[in-house]
């Protein structure tokens, strides 16, 4: 639309677009895809640390070792992903300049600062067999902080003016927690399968996570109703569909497979499903905030 006003026909004027020339009312997030990857890696790390701590306490040292490694696979890229998404990455340390309970990103930065040394320390000490008591204590600490690493990102997106995120605030923490659980179970199962044979406990956890994930996504769809960008935005829809197919297929495969190769493939499918679930959330936010009708539906429920 670059035509000067004078050339517009009357019919162009009378067909009223939504709001002000159909322009967005709120602004969409400006994060790169790195943020979706971080939602995945952070979630994987947090839930894996819970699994590692529980397995250690329950006397499953193999499973604990694999879960600790899975936590590191999630943790190591996380700071890189987070810092690379800043427009002023050299100032990343300003995240720790203040502690602000009103900012989920501030809370998350501090949680991550406490979590990373605990998870990393327990992994190094246990791998090297040094200071076993300190290693175990750090592992428990990582397991205690872990759940918040998996779920704070849901609060982070819900605490915005993006309609689909804010109105999904009751379900998003469950979507993130269960998707994290699915990925942690799958990752431990995968590492276990790569070494010798899959871990039935990890496989069951992956399946439980997938079940809860798909259930809470479904509850979110029902609540969102007309605000459900998952149904209207093609990119969101594709990622969400892929998440469902990969997660469900992977979960069924995980439960059925007794041999290494199917276990490995199924675990990879669950992990990929978890990635797609986070991409769907991020894409849904973009589409929702860009659509003025979405904001009007959110704020004028009767009209």
């Amino acid at each position: 639309m670059t035509a000067p006003v004078g050339t517009l026909k009357r019919s162009d004027r009378s067909e009223a677009p939504v709001g002000y020339y159909g322009k967005p009312i709120v602004r969409a997030h400006i994060w790169d895809d790195t943020i979706a990857w971080y939602f995945f890696t952070g979630g994987l790390a947090g839930a894996s640390s819970v699994l590692a701590a529980a397995a250690e306490l329950a006397g499953h040292p193999q499973l604990a070792r694999h879960a600790r490694r899975a936590a590191m696979v999630g943790l190591l890229p996380s700071p890189v992903l987070l810092i690379s998404d800043l427009a002023r990455p050299a100032r990343f340390y300003n995240m720790l300049r203040v502690f602000k309970p009103t900012s989920p990103m501030s809370v998350g930065s501090w949680l991550l600062s406490a979590y990373a040394p605990a998870a990393g320390g327990s992994w190094i000490l246990r791998e090297l067999g040094l200071l076993p008591r300190l290693g175990r204590a750090l592992g428990v600490a990582a397991g205690v902080i872990g759940p918040s690493i998996s779920t704070y990102t849901a609060v982070l997106v819900a605490d915005t003016a993006t309609p689909v995120w804010h109105e999904g605030r009751r379900e998003l923490p469950f979507v993130f927690a269960s998707s994290s659980l699915a990925s942690a179970g799958a990752a431990a199962n995968l590492l276990s399968g790569l070494e010798r044979a899959g871990s039935p406990i990890a496989g069951r956890l992956a399946a439980i996570g997938v079940g809860c994930e798909l259930g809470s996504v479904e509850l979110m769809h029902r609540r969102l109703g007309a605000l459900d960008t998952y149904a209207t935005d093609p990119a969101t829809h594709r990622f969400s569909k892929a998440a469902t197919v990969l997660s469900l297929g992977g979960a069924v495969g995980t439960l059925l497979s007794r041999r290494r190769l199917p276990t490995i493939v199924s675990s990879l499918a669950v992990l990929a499903g978890s990635v797609c679930e986070r991409f769907a959330v991020v894409r849904a936010g973009t589409a929702s905030a860009s659509d003025p009708a979405s904001v009007l539906t959110q704020q004028r429920p009767t009209g």
């Binding site: 639309m1 670059t2 035509a3 006003v5 004027r13 009378s14 709001g19 002000y20 020339y21 322009k23 967005p24 009312i25 709120v26 602004r27 997030h29 400006i30 819970v50 699994l51 529980a54 329950a58 499953h60 499973l63 800043l86 427009a87 002023r88 100032r91 990343f92 300003n94 995240m95 300049r97 009103t102 989920p104 990103m105 501030s106 759940p147 918040s148 998996s150 779920t151 849901a154 609060v155 982070l156 605490d159 915005t160 003016a161 605030r169 923490p173 469950f174 993130f176 927690a177 269960s178 659980l181 039935p200 406990i201 956890l205 439980i208 996570g209 904001v295 009007l296 704020q299 004028r300």
Partner: protein, 290 residues
């Protein structure tokens, strides 16, 4: 700066200040946009014509801290306003098209940051770069901002943006530097019709109420106030508007709410979800067969 002369000005009284934007007298001259860009040294891009009436600015962004909206609204009836007030202001004129077939109402409004009482951008800023000034306004400290971009989707009005050249979040400061020097913000200073008024916020709200009453008395039933209610979803705006149509016609959200208001509920939900995660893991690991 002599204390003897300026003791009643905002920086001395510590009073909360704000804008009253009376769109009924806006003539769409964009002097506010120009003055803002001049004073704050913002980029002035000559872009393409948008075709959206005279609005080629587009939106409030990191470089546009004032944005004059132009709405051409077809209307079935020709509403001719009452004669000009002594103050010399007229209502927007309803235009009859040359062919006489339809009429058009032209609405103009200069949009700006609302400097919310409960400001989402300030709440979510993880670095403390955004802060509340002694004037009750919300300002970005560019030397602290690390460009995380969280404030951008948090703002219920889509005001704040991230400047891609500097990497910093940027928005109206309500001319913080000018306020410190007891000066009126550049936009209000430049406005030729007093559509943009500046002063202590309480007084702005009173003026808005008064002006609304006047217009209603004169039969302007479309007149409504926006952002004046301290009990609304943002605790009231630091920039009160008198509009002549629904807020969304101007691109404003009809019932904005600061997302942080529900943060407690959201943390509680996430804690339950986190406990659920722990529960599932513990039950499976301790209860399961190997």
């Amino acid at each position: 700066m002599s204390d003897g002369l300026v003791t009643d000005l905002p920086s001395h009284t510590g009073e909360r200040v704000g804008f009253f934007t009376d769109t009924s007298v806006c003539i769409g001259c964009k002097a506010c946009e120009v003055a803002c860009k001049e004073w704050n040294d913002l980029e002035s891009l000559v872009g393409e014509l948008t075709g959206n009436s005279y609005d080629n600015t587009g939106a409030l962004t990191a470089q546009n801290w004032r944005h004059v909206t132009f709405i051409e609204k077809p209307t079935p009836t020709v509403a001719v306003p009452d004669p000009v007030e002594p103050a010399g202001v007229t209502l927007p004129t309803a235009l009859v098209a040359p062919d006489g077939a339809a009429s058009l109402v032209w609405l103009m409004s200069s949009d700006v940051c609302k400097h919310c009482t409960e400001a989402a951008c300030l709440d979510v800023c993880p670095t403390g770069s955004l802060f509340r000034t002694e004037f009750g306004t919300v300002v970005v400290q560019p030397d602290i901002c690390n460009g995380c971009g969280y404030c951008v989707p948090a703002c219920p009005f889509g005001v704040i943006g991230r400047d891609e050249s500097s990497g910093n979040a940027a928005k109206c400061t309500l001319c913080y530097d000018r306020l410190k020097g007891d000066q009126t913000p550049a936009c209000a200073h430049a406005c030729p019709t007093d559509s943009i008024q500046f002063g202590p916020l309480d007084e702005m709200r009173e003026r808005a109420d008064r002006r609304m009453g006047e217009l209603r008395n004169r039969g302007e039933h479309r007149a409504r106030l926006y952002g004046h209610d301290p009990d609304d979803g943002i605790g009231g705006s630091g920039a009160v508007f008198l509009l002549l149509d629904e807020p969304e016609v101007y691109g404003l959200p009809p019932a904005p709410i600061v997302p942080t208001r529900r943060l407690g509920q959201m943390w509680a939900t996430s804690a339950i979800a986190g406990l659920g995660l722990v529960g599932a893991v513990v039950a499976t690991v301790f209860g399961g067969r190997r």
